[in-house]
Protein backbone atom coordinates (compact mmCIF):
# COMPACT_ATOMS: atom_id res chain seq x y z
CA UNK A 1 0.00 0.00 0.00
CA UNK A 2 2.78 2.40 0.89
CA UNK A 3 4.25 2.25 -2.61
CA UNK A 4 0.92 3.25 -4.09
CA UNK A 5 0.34 6.15 -1.70
CA UNK A 6 3.90 7.44 -2.00
CA UNK A 7 3.90 7.36 -5.77
CA UNK A 8 0.22 8.09 -6.44
CA UNK A 9 1.20 11.08 -8.62
CA UNK A 10 3.50 8.92 -10.70
CA UNK A 11 0.85 6.23 -11.14
CA UNK A 12 -1.79 8.78 -12.16
CA UNK A 13 0.49 10.52 -14.63
CA UNK A 14 1.77 7.25 -16.11
CA UNK A 15 -1.66 5.72 -16.57
CA UNK A 16 -2.88 9.05 -17.97
CA UNK A 17 -0.15 8.82 -20.62
CA UNK A 18 -1.09 5.20 -21.30
CA UNK A 19 -4.72 6.11 -21.85
CA UNK A 20 -3.79 9.04 -24.09
CA UNK A 21 -1.52 6.78 -26.09
CA UNK A 22 -4.35 4.26 -26.31
CA UNK A 23 -6.97 6.78 -27.44
CA UNK A 24 -4.82 8.39 -30.14
CA UNK A 25 -3.65 5.10 -31.60
CA UNK A 26 -7.11 3.53 -31.31
CA UNK A 27 -8.66 6.27 -33.45
CA UNK A 28 -5.73 6.19 -35.86
CA UNK A 29 -5.73 2.44 -36.30
CA UNK A 30 -9.53 2.23 -36.65
CA UNK A 31 -9.44 4.73 -39.50
CA UNK A 32 -6.38 3.23 -41.19
CA UNK A 33 -7.57 -0.33 -40.56
CA UNK A 34 -11.00 0.28 -42.14
CA UNK A 35 -9.33 1.97 -45.09
CA UNK A 36 -7.01 -1.03 -45.53
CA UNK A 37 -9.99 -3.41 -45.30
CA UNK A 38 -11.70 -1.44 -48.07
CA UNK A 39 -8.56 -1.77 -50.16
CA UNK A 40 -8.53 -5.52 -49.54
CA UNK A 41 -12.06 -6.08 -50.84
CA UNK A 42 -11.93 -3.55 -53.68
CA UNK A 43 -12.47 -4.68 -57.29
CA UNK A 44 -9.10 -3.27 -58.37
CA UNK A 45 -6.43 -5.99 -58.06
CA UNK A 46 -3.63 -3.52 -57.38
CA UNK A 47 -5.43 -2.16 -54.32
CA UNK A 48 -6.09 -5.67 -53.05
CA UNK A 49 -2.44 -6.63 -53.50
CA UNK A 50 -1.20 -3.47 -51.77
CA UNK A 51 -3.48 -4.11 -48.80
CA UNK A 52 -2.48 -7.76 -48.61
CA UNK A 53 1.25 -7.01 -48.70
CA UNK A 54 0.94 -4.38 -45.99
CA UNK A 55 -1.08 -6.66 -43.70
CA UNK A 56 1.22 -9.65 -44.22
CA UNK A 57 4.37 -7.64 -43.57
CA UNK A 58 3.12 -5.82 -40.51
CA UNK A 59 1.36 -8.77 -38.91
CA UNK A 60 4.54 -10.81 -39.02
CA UNK A 61 6.75 -8.11 -37.55
CA UNK A 62 7.12 -7.90 -33.77
CA UNK A 63 5.69 -4.67 -32.36
CA UNK A 64 8.96 -4.16 -30.50
CA UNK A 65 10.69 -4.03 -33.87
CA UNK A 66 8.26 -1.40 -35.15
CA UNK A 67 8.98 0.67 -32.05
CA UNK A 68 12.69 0.04 -32.51
CA UNK A 69 12.48 1.40 -36.04
CA UNK A 70 10.71 4.59 -35.02
CA UNK A 71 12.88 5.15 -31.96
CA UNK A 72 16.34 4.50 -33.42
CA UNK A 73 16.32 4.12 -37.19
CA UNK A 74 13.67 6.62 -38.23
CA UNK A 75 15.54 9.71 -36.95
CA UNK A 76 18.46 8.76 -39.21
CA UNK A 77 16.23 9.15 -42.25
CA UNK A 78 16.01 12.88 -41.47
CA UNK A 79 12.33 13.15 -42.23
CA UNK A 80 9.66 14.81 -40.11
CA UNK A 81 10.89 14.80 -36.51
CA UNK A 82 8.79 12.74 -34.09
CA UNK A 83 8.75 13.09 -30.32
CA UNK A 84 8.89 9.71 -28.50
CA UNK A 85 5.15 9.96 -27.75
CA UNK A 86 4.27 10.73 -31.37
CA UNK A 87 6.56 7.97 -32.55
CA UNK A 88 4.79 5.55 -30.22
CA UNK A 89 1.39 6.60 -31.57
CA UNK A 90 2.60 6.08 -35.15
CA UNK A 91 4.12 2.68 -34.34
CA UNK A 92 1.01 1.46 -32.50
CA UNK A 93 -1.27 2.80 -35.24
CA UNK A 94 0.65 1.16 -38.07
CA UNK A 95 0.81 -2.14 -36.18
CA UNK A 96 -2.74 -2.33 -34.87
CA UNK A 97 -4.32 -1.21 -38.14
CA UNK A 98 -3.17 -4.43 -39.80
CA UNK A 99 -5.13 -6.44 -37.21
CA UNK A 100 -8.15 -4.14 -37.42
CA UNK A 101 -8.05 -4.58 -41.19
CA UNK A 102 -8.25 -8.35 -40.83
CA UNK A 103 -11.09 -8.11 -38.32
CA UNK A 104 -13.13 -5.75 -40.51
CA UNK A 105 -12.46 -7.85 -43.59
CA UNK A 106 -13.62 -11.02 -41.86
CA UNK A 107 -16.71 -9.05 -40.81
CA UNK A 108 -17.36 -8.04 -44.41
CA UNK A 109 -17.11 -11.69 -45.39
CA UNK A 110 -19.82 -12.66 -42.91
CA UNK A 111 -22.40 -10.44 -44.64
CA UNK A 112 -24.49 -12.76 -46.82
CA UNK A 113 -23.76 -12.65 -50.55
CA UNK A 114 -27.37 -11.70 -51.27
CA UNK A 115 -26.91 -8.30 -49.66
CA UNK A 116 -24.22 -7.24 -52.10
CA UNK A 117 -26.09 -8.82 -55.01
CA UNK A 118 -29.31 -7.08 -54.08
CA UNK A 119 -27.60 -3.71 -53.82
CA UNK A 120 -25.99 -4.26 -57.20
CA UNK A 121 -29.40 -5.12 -58.64
CA UNK A 122 -30.65 -1.78 -57.29
CA UNK A 123 -27.85 -0.09 -59.19
CA UNK A 124 -25.73 1.03 -56.25
CA UNK A 125 -22.10 1.68 -57.00
CA UNK A 126 -19.35 -0.24 -55.19
CA UNK A 127 -18.80 2.62 -52.75
CA UNK A 128 -22.52 3.05 -52.04
CA UNK A 129 -22.92 -0.69 -51.60
CA UNK A 130 -19.98 -0.81 -49.17
CA UNK A 131 -20.96 2.22 -47.09
CA UNK A 132 -24.75 1.91 -47.07
CA UNK A 133 -25.33 -1.83 -47.10
CA UNK A 134 -22.38 -4.04 -46.30
CA UNK A 135 -20.26 -2.10 -43.78
CA UNK A 136 -23.15 -1.21 -41.42
CA UNK A 137 -24.02 -4.90 -41.16
CA UNK A 138 -20.40 -5.99 -41.02
CA UNK A 139 -19.67 -3.61 -38.15
CA UNK A 140 -22.25 -5.37 -35.99
CA UNK A 141 -20.49 -8.71 -36.17
CA UNK A 142 -17.14 -7.00 -36.00
CA UNK A 143 -17.54 -5.06 -32.78
CA UNK A 144 -16.70 -7.92 -30.35
CA UNK A 145 -13.41 -8.90 -32.04
CA UNK A 146 -12.70 -5.21 -32.54
CA UNK A 147 -12.98 -4.66 -28.80
CA UNK A 148 -10.51 -7.52 -28.22
CA UNK A 149 -8.09 -5.95 -30.67
CA UNK A 150 -8.40 -2.66 -28.81
CA UNK A 151 -7.78 -4.46 -25.50
CA UNK A 152 -4.61 -5.87 -27.02
CA UNK A 153 -3.71 -2.35 -28.13
CA UNK A 154 -4.18 -1.09 -24.58
CA UNK A 155 -1.82 -3.77 -23.30
CA UNK A 156 0.63 -3.13 -26.12
CA UNK A 157 1.01 0.53 -25.14
CA UNK A 158 3.30 -0.64 -22.32
CA UNK A 159 6.00 -1.46 -24.87
CA UNK A 160 6.40 2.27 -25.46
CA UNK A 161 8.03 2.38 -22.02
CA UNK A 162 11.08 0.65 -23.48
CA UNK A 163 11.42 3.55 -25.93
CA UNK A 164 11.42 6.55 -23.59
CA UNK A 165 7.69 7.23 -23.31
CA UNK A 166 6.70 7.70 -19.68
CA UNK A 167 3.63 5.47 -19.71
CA UNK A 168 2.50 2.81 -17.23
CA UNK A 169 5.32 0.46 -18.23
CA UNK A 170 7.90 3.10 -17.31
CA UNK A 171 6.74 3.14 -13.68
CA UNK A 172 9.21 0.33 -13.05
CA UNK A 173 12.13 2.48 -14.17
CA UNK A 174 11.20 5.30 -11.81
CA UNK A 175 10.61 2.90 -8.94
CA UNK A 176 13.97 1.22 -9.43
CA UNK A 177 15.72 4.60 -9.52
CA UNK A 178 14.14 5.56 -6.24
CA UNK A 179 14.80 2.17 -4.69
CA UNK A 180 11.15 1.44 -3.93
CA UNK A 181 9.78 -2.05 -3.53
CA UNK A 182 9.60 -3.17 -7.15
CA UNK A 183 7.54 -6.29 -6.60
CA UNK A 184 4.76 -4.41 -4.87
CA UNK A 185 4.91 -1.50 -7.30
CA UNK A 186 4.75 -3.69 -10.38
CA UNK A 187 1.99 -5.79 -8.88
CA UNK A 188 -0.03 -2.58 -8.56
CA UNK A 189 0.64 -1.78 -12.21
CA UNK A 190 -0.53 -5.27 -13.16
CA UNK A 191 -3.57 -4.89 -10.92
CA UNK A 192 -4.59 -1.63 -12.58
CA UNK A 193 -4.30 -3.24 -15.99
CA UNK A 194 -6.53 -6.09 -14.85
CA UNK A 195 -8.94 -3.44 -13.59
CA UNK A 196 -8.90 -1.70 -16.97
CA UNK A 197 -9.04 -4.81 -19.14
CA UNK A 198 -11.52 -7.11 -17.40
CA UNK A 199 -14.51 -4.73 -17.66
CA UNK A 200 -13.72 -4.33 -21.37
CA UNK A 201 -13.61 -8.12 -21.73
CA UNK A 202 -16.99 -8.39 -20.05
CA UNK A 203 -18.44 -5.72 -22.37
CA UNK A 204 -17.02 -7.61 -25.32
CA UNK A 205 -18.56 -10.91 -24.21
CA UNK A 206 -21.93 -9.28 -23.58
CA UNK A 207 -21.88 -7.72 -27.06
CA UNK A 208 -20.86 -11.02 -28.57
CA UNK A 209 -23.77 -12.85 -26.97
CA UNK A 210 -26.31 -10.19 -27.77
CA UNK A 211 -25.30 -9.57 -31.35
CA UNK A 212 -24.62 -13.14 -32.30
CA UNK A 213 -28.33 -13.79 -31.66
CA UNK A 214 -29.40 -10.77 -33.67
CA UNK A 215 -27.86 -12.00 -36.91
Amino acid sequence: MSVLSTYSDLFLRAFGTTIQLFLFSAVGSLVLGTFLAMLRVSPVPVFRAAGAVYVTLVRNTPLTLVFFFFAFAYPLLKMLRLEPFQGAVVALTLYTSAFICEVVRSGINTVPVGQAEASRALGLTFGQMLFNVVLPQALRTVVPPLVSTLIALLKNTTIAAGFSVSDAGSISYVLSEEGANMLVGLSWVAFFFVLLVIPLTLVQRALEKRWSVAR
Partner: protein, 289 residues
Protein backbone atom coordinates in the same frame (compact mmCIF):
# COMPACT_ATOMS: atom_id res chain seq x y z
CA UNK B 1 -14.94 -14.19 -50.38
CA UNK B 2 -14.31 -10.70 -51.58
CA UNK B 3 -15.29 -11.46 -55.16
CA UNK B 4 -18.97 -11.56 -54.20
CA UNK B 5 -18.91 -7.86 -53.52
CA UNK B 6 -18.75 -6.87 -57.18
CA UNK B 7 -19.91 -8.11 -60.55
CA UNK B 8 -17.71 -9.24 -63.37
CA UNK B 9 -16.86 -5.79 -64.73
CA UNK B 10 -18.32 -4.59 -68.02
CA UNK B 11 -16.43 -2.45 -70.54
CA UNK B 12 -17.02 0.82 -68.69
CA UNK B 13 -16.13 -0.63 -65.31
CA UNK B 14 -13.06 -2.27 -66.77
CA UNK B 15 -11.88 1.08 -68.04
CA UNK B 16 -12.56 2.66 -64.67
CA UNK B 17 -10.73 -0.13 -62.86
CA UNK B 18 -7.80 0.21 -65.18
CA UNK B 19 -7.70 3.93 -64.48
CA UNK B 20 -7.92 3.30 -60.74
CA UNK B 21 -5.22 0.66 -61.02
CA UNK B 22 -2.93 3.22 -62.63
CA UNK B 23 -3.71 5.68 -59.85
CA UNK B 24 -3.13 2.93 -57.27
CA UNK B 25 0.18 1.89 -58.78
CA UNK B 26 1.25 5.53 -58.90
CA UNK B 27 0.27 6.00 -55.25
CA UNK B 28 2.09 2.85 -54.09
CA UNK B 29 5.14 3.66 -56.22
CA UNK B 30 4.99 7.21 -54.88
CA UNK B 31 4.96 6.14 -51.24
CA UNK B 32 7.57 3.37 -51.66
CA UNK B 33 9.65 5.63 -53.87
CA UNK B 34 9.53 8.44 -51.34
CA UNK B 35 10.64 6.13 -48.55
CA UNK B 36 13.33 4.69 -50.80
CA UNK B 37 14.46 8.19 -51.71
CA UNK B 38 14.68 9.14 -48.04
CA UNK B 39 16.79 6.03 -47.44
CA UNK B 40 18.97 6.92 -50.38
CA UNK B 41 19.16 10.60 -49.53
CA UNK B 42 20.17 9.97 -45.94
CA UNK B 43 22.85 7.58 -47.19
CA UNK B 44 21.34 4.33 -45.94
CA UNK B 45 22.14 2.55 -49.20
CA UNK B 46 25.82 3.44 -49.09
CA UNK B 47 27.87 0.25 -49.43
CA UNK B 48 29.80 1.11 -46.28
CA UNK B 49 26.66 0.66 -44.16
CA UNK B 50 26.20 -2.88 -45.42
CA UNK B 51 29.82 -4.00 -45.06
CA UNK B 52 29.16 -5.56 -41.66
CA UNK B 53 27.33 -8.37 -43.41
CA UNK B 54 30.67 -9.65 -44.74
CA UNK B 55 32.39 -10.03 -41.38
CA UNK B 56 32.46 -13.56 -40.09
CA UNK B 57 32.27 -12.58 -36.43
CA UNK B 58 29.17 -10.52 -37.17
CA UNK B 59 27.56 -13.38 -39.04
CA UNK B 60 28.36 -15.82 -36.24
CA UNK B 61 27.04 -13.43 -33.62
CA UNK B 62 23.86 -12.91 -35.67
CA UNK B 63 23.39 -16.67 -35.76
CA UNK B 64 24.04 -16.92 -32.02
CA UNK B 65 21.46 -14.21 -31.35
CA UNK B 66 18.99 -15.92 -33.65
CA UNK B 67 19.69 -19.08 -31.64
CA UNK B 68 18.87 -17.20 -28.42
CA UNK B 69 15.58 -15.98 -29.90
CA UNK B 70 14.69 -19.47 -31.07
CA UNK B 71 15.72 -21.01 -27.75
CA UNK B 72 13.40 -18.69 -25.84
CA UNK B 73 10.69 -19.46 -28.38
CA UNK B 74 11.12 -23.23 -28.18
CA UNK B 75 11.22 -23.46 -24.39
CA UNK B 76 8.32 -21.05 -23.96
CA UNK B 77 6.27 -22.83 -26.63
CA UNK B 78 6.61 -26.24 -24.97
CA UNK B 79 5.91 -24.86 -21.50
CA UNK B 80 2.97 -22.76 -22.74
CA UNK B 81 1.33 -25.77 -24.38
CA UNK B 82 1.76 -27.78 -21.19
CA UNK B 83 0.44 -24.96 -18.99
CA UNK B 84 -2.42 -24.44 -21.43
CA UNK B 85 -3.35 -28.10 -21.20
CA UNK B 86 -3.32 -28.03 -17.40
CA UNK B 87 -5.34 -24.82 -17.21
CA UNK B 88 -7.82 -26.06 -19.81
CA UNK B 89 -8.28 -29.28 -17.85
CA UNK B 90 -8.95 -27.13 -14.80
CA UNK B 91 -11.44 -24.93 -16.63
CA UNK B 92 -13.29 -27.94 -18.02
CA UNK B 93 -13.42 -29.66 -14.66
CA UNK B 94 -16.78 -30.38 -13.02
CA UNK B 95 -15.39 -29.45 -9.63
CA UNK B 96 -15.45 -25.80 -8.68
CA UNK B 97 -12.26 -26.36 -6.64
CA UNK B 98 -10.32 -26.71 -9.90
CA UNK B 99 -12.52 -24.68 -12.20
CA UNK B 100 -12.59 -21.40 -10.30
CA UNK B 101 -8.83 -21.01 -9.71
CA UNK B 102 -8.09 -22.01 -13.29
CA UNK B 103 -10.59 -19.47 -14.60
CA UNK B 104 -9.14 -16.73 -12.41
CA UNK B 105 -5.58 -17.55 -13.48
CA UNK B 106 -6.54 -17.56 -17.17
CA UNK B 107 -8.45 -14.29 -16.97
CA UNK B 108 -5.82 -12.48 -14.93
CA UNK B 109 -2.82 -13.55 -16.98
CA UNK B 110 -4.59 -12.66 -20.19
CA UNK B 111 -5.33 -9.19 -18.84
CA UNK B 112 -1.82 -8.28 -17.65
CA UNK B 113 0.39 -6.86 -20.41
CA UNK B 114 3.16 -9.30 -21.23
CA UNK B 115 5.84 -6.69 -20.73
CA UNK B 116 4.61 -5.95 -17.21
CA UNK B 117 4.74 -9.67 -16.47
CA UNK B 118 8.31 -9.86 -17.72
CA UNK B 119 9.14 -6.78 -15.61
CA UNK B 120 7.63 -8.44 -12.54
CA UNK B 121 9.90 -11.43 -13.06
CA UNK B 122 12.99 -9.46 -13.94
CA UNK B 123 12.74 -6.36 -11.72
CA UNK B 124 10.20 -7.49 -9.13
CA UNK B 125 11.45 -10.87 -7.99
CA UNK B 126 14.93 -9.65 -6.94
CA UNK B 127 13.21 -7.80 -4.05
CA UNK B 128 12.45 -11.21 -2.56
CA UNK B 129 15.97 -12.41 -3.35
CA UNK B 130 15.16 -14.46 -6.41
CA UNK B 131 17.24 -13.28 -9.32
CA UNK B 132 16.01 -14.80 -12.58
CA UNK B 133 18.17 -14.31 -15.66
CA UNK B 134 16.76 -12.40 -18.62
CA UNK B 135 16.12 -15.71 -20.35
CA UNK B 136 14.10 -17.05 -17.43
CA UNK B 137 12.11 -13.81 -17.13
CA UNK B 138 11.24 -13.76 -20.83
CA UNK B 139 10.34 -17.44 -20.94
CA UNK B 140 8.27 -17.22 -17.75
CA UNK B 141 6.30 -14.24 -19.05
CA UNK B 142 5.73 -15.81 -22.44
CA UNK B 143 4.68 -19.09 -20.85
CA UNK B 144 2.13 -17.55 -18.51
CA UNK B 145 0.54 -15.33 -21.14
CA UNK B 146 0.46 -17.80 -24.01
CA UNK B 147 -0.42 -20.66 -21.69
CA UNK B 148 -3.55 -18.79 -20.65
CA UNK B 149 -4.47 -18.03 -24.25
CA UNK B 150 -3.84 -21.63 -25.29
CA UNK B 151 -5.99 -22.82 -22.37
CA UNK B 152 -8.87 -20.89 -23.91
CA UNK B 153 -8.07 -22.40 -27.31
CA UNK B 154 -8.07 -25.94 -25.90
CA UNK B 155 -11.28 -25.34 -24.01
CA UNK B 156 -13.02 -23.85 -27.03
CA UNK B 157 -11.76 -26.74 -29.16
CA UNK B 158 -13.14 -29.39 -26.81
CA UNK B 159 -16.42 -27.54 -26.36
CA UNK B 160 -16.90 -27.11 -30.09
CA UNK B 161 -16.99 -30.85 -30.73
CA UNK B 162 -20.48 -32.21 -31.44
CA UNK B 163 -22.22 -33.12 -28.18
CA UNK B 164 -22.98 -36.60 -29.51
CA UNK B 165 -19.33 -37.58 -29.20
CA UNK B 166 -19.25 -37.24 -25.43
CA UNK B 167 -22.78 -38.60 -25.06
CA UNK B 168 -21.97 -41.71 -27.09
CA UNK B 169 -18.84 -42.31 -25.04
CA UNK B 170 -20.74 -41.96 -21.79
CA UNK B 171 -23.40 -44.33 -23.15
CA UNK B 172 -20.64 -46.88 -23.72
CA UNK B 173 -19.90 -46.65 -20.02
CA UNK B 174 -16.67 -44.68 -20.20
CA UNK B 175 -15.54 -42.63 -17.25
CA UNK B 176 -15.05 -38.86 -17.41
CA UNK B 177 -11.29 -39.12 -17.86
CA UNK B 178 -11.65 -41.79 -20.52
CA UNK B 179 -14.16 -39.69 -22.44
CA UNK B 180 -11.79 -36.73 -22.36
CA UNK B 181 -8.55 -38.55 -23.09
CA UNK B 182 -9.72 -41.20 -25.53
CA UNK B 183 -12.59 -39.51 -27.35
CA UNK B 184 -12.63 -35.74 -27.07
CA UNK B 185 -8.96 -34.75 -26.94
CA UNK B 186 -7.73 -36.71 -29.98
CA UNK B 187 -10.42 -35.10 -32.12
CA UNK B 188 -10.11 -31.67 -30.60
CA UNK B 189 -6.31 -31.65 -30.86
CA UNK B 190 -6.38 -32.37 -34.56
CA UNK B 191 -8.92 -29.67 -35.20
CA UNK B 192 -7.05 -27.21 -33.01
CA UNK B 193 -3.54 -27.81 -34.30
CA UNK B 194 -3.60 -25.02 -36.92
CA UNK B 195 -4.93 -22.59 -34.31
CA UNK B 196 -2.23 -23.58 -31.83
CA UNK B 197 0.45 -23.00 -34.44
CA UNK B 198 -0.95 -19.54 -35.21
CA UNK B 199 -0.74 -18.71 -31.54
CA UNK B 200 2.89 -19.82 -31.64
CA UNK B 201 3.49 -17.14 -34.27
CA UNK B 202 2.38 -14.59 -31.66
CA UNK B 203 4.75 -16.21 -29.16
CA UNK B 204 7.63 -16.01 -31.61
CA UNK B 205 7.02 -12.32 -32.21
CA UNK B 206 6.76 -11.68 -28.48
CA UNK B 207 10.28 -12.98 -27.87
CA UNK B 208 11.37 -9.59 -29.22
CA UNK B 209 10.15 -8.10 -25.93
CA UNK B 210 13.33 -9.51 -24.41
CA UNK B 211 15.04 -6.54 -26.05
CA UNK B 212 13.55 -4.23 -23.44
CA UNK B 213 15.21 -6.11 -20.57
CA UNK B 214 18.42 -6.58 -22.59
CA UNK B 215 18.01 -10.26 -23.29
CA UNK B 216 20.74 -11.04 -25.81
CA UNK B 217 18.49 -11.58 -28.81
CA UNK B 218 18.38 -10.28 -32.36
CA UNK B 219 17.08 -6.77 -31.70
CA UNK B 220 19.56 -6.27 -28.89
CA UNK B 221 22.36 -7.06 -31.31
CA UNK B 222 20.81 -4.75 -33.90
CA UNK B 223 21.05 -1.91 -31.43
CA UNK B 224 24.59 -2.81 -30.43
CA UNK B 225 25.90 -3.12 -33.97
CA UNK B 226 23.80 -0.21 -35.15
CA UNK B 227 25.68 2.16 -32.90
CA UNK B 228 29.15 0.96 -33.90
CA UNK B 229 31.02 3.82 -35.53
CA UNK B 230 33.41 1.56 -37.43
CA UNK B 231 30.54 0.27 -39.59
CA UNK B 232 29.08 3.77 -39.97
CA UNK B 233 26.18 3.18 -37.55
CA UNK B 234 24.14 0.81 -39.72
CA UNK B 235 20.95 1.01 -37.65
CA UNK B 236 18.60 1.19 -40.62
CA UNK B 237 20.17 -1.73 -42.57
CA UNK B 238 20.28 -3.73 -39.33
CA UNK B 239 16.58 -3.08 -38.66
CA UNK B 240 15.72 -4.15 -42.19
CA UNK B 241 17.70 -7.38 -41.85
CA UNK B 242 16.18 -8.25 -38.46
CA UNK B 243 12.68 -7.47 -39.75
CA UNK B 244 13.28 -9.75 -42.72
CA UNK B 245 14.43 -12.56 -40.43
CA UNK B 246 11.35 -12.22 -38.21
CA UNK B 247 8.96 -11.99 -41.15
CA UNK B 248 10.54 -15.07 -42.75
CA UNK B 249 10.26 -17.10 -39.54
CA UNK B 250 6.67 -16.05 -38.89
CA UNK B 251 5.62 -16.71 -42.49
CA UNK B 252 7.17 -20.17 -42.20
CA UNK B 253 5.10 -20.91 -39.09
CA UNK B 254 1.97 -19.48 -40.74
CA UNK B 255 2.62 -21.70 -43.71
CA UNK B 256 2.80 -24.71 -41.37
CA UNK B 257 -0.54 -23.68 -39.84
CA UNK B 258 -2.17 -23.29 -43.24
CA UNK B 259 -0.90 -26.61 -44.55
CA UNK B 260 -2.06 -28.36 -41.37
CA UNK B 261 -5.47 -26.82 -41.89
CA UNK B 262 -5.54 -27.99 -45.50
CA UNK B 263 -4.61 -31.49 -44.43
CA UNK B 264 -7.36 -31.44 -41.82
CA UNK B 265 -9.88 -30.42 -44.44
CA UNK B 266 -8.86 -33.29 -46.71
CA UNK B 267 -8.96 -35.79 -43.87
CA UNK B 268 -12.44 -37.32 -43.64
CA UNK B 269 -11.72 -38.77 -40.20
CA UNK B 270 -11.87 -35.36 -38.61
CA UNK B 271 -15.18 -34.31 -37.13
CA UNK B 272 -15.94 -30.80 -38.29
CA UNK B 273 -16.37 -28.70 -35.16
CA UNK B 274 -19.77 -27.06 -34.84
CA UNK B 275 -18.41 -23.56 -34.75
CA UNK B 276 -15.14 -21.84 -35.19
CA UNK B 277 -14.82 -21.10 -31.49
CA UNK B 278 -11.14 -21.98 -31.18
CA UNK B 279 -10.23 -19.78 -34.11
CA UNK B 280 -12.29 -16.95 -32.66
CA UNK B 281 -10.21 -17.09 -29.49
CA UNK B 282 -7.00 -16.71 -31.43
CA UNK B 283 -8.42 -14.11 -33.78
CA UNK B 284 -9.34 -11.99 -30.82
CA UNK B 285 -5.98 -12.54 -29.16
CA UNK B 286 -3.95 -12.41 -32.32
CA UNK B 287 -2.78 -8.90 -31.70
CA UNK B 288 -1.27 -9.80 -28.34
CA UNK B 289 1.84 -7.83 -29.22
Amino acid sequence: MSSVLFDVPGPKARLRHRLLAVVGVLAVVGVVGFIGYRFYDSGQFEPRLWEWLQYETVQLELLARLGNTLRAFAVAAVLAVLLGAVLAAGRLSDHAVWRVPATVVVEVFRAIPLLIMIFIFYFGLPTVDIKPSQFVAVVAGLTLYNGSVLAEVFRAGVLSLPRGQAEAAYALGMRKTQVMVQVLLPQALRAMLPTIVSQLVVLLKDTALGFIINYKELLDYAKYLGTQGQFGRPLVPMTIVVAAVYIAMCLLLTWVAVSLEKRNRRNKKIVEPENRAAEQVVLSNASGV
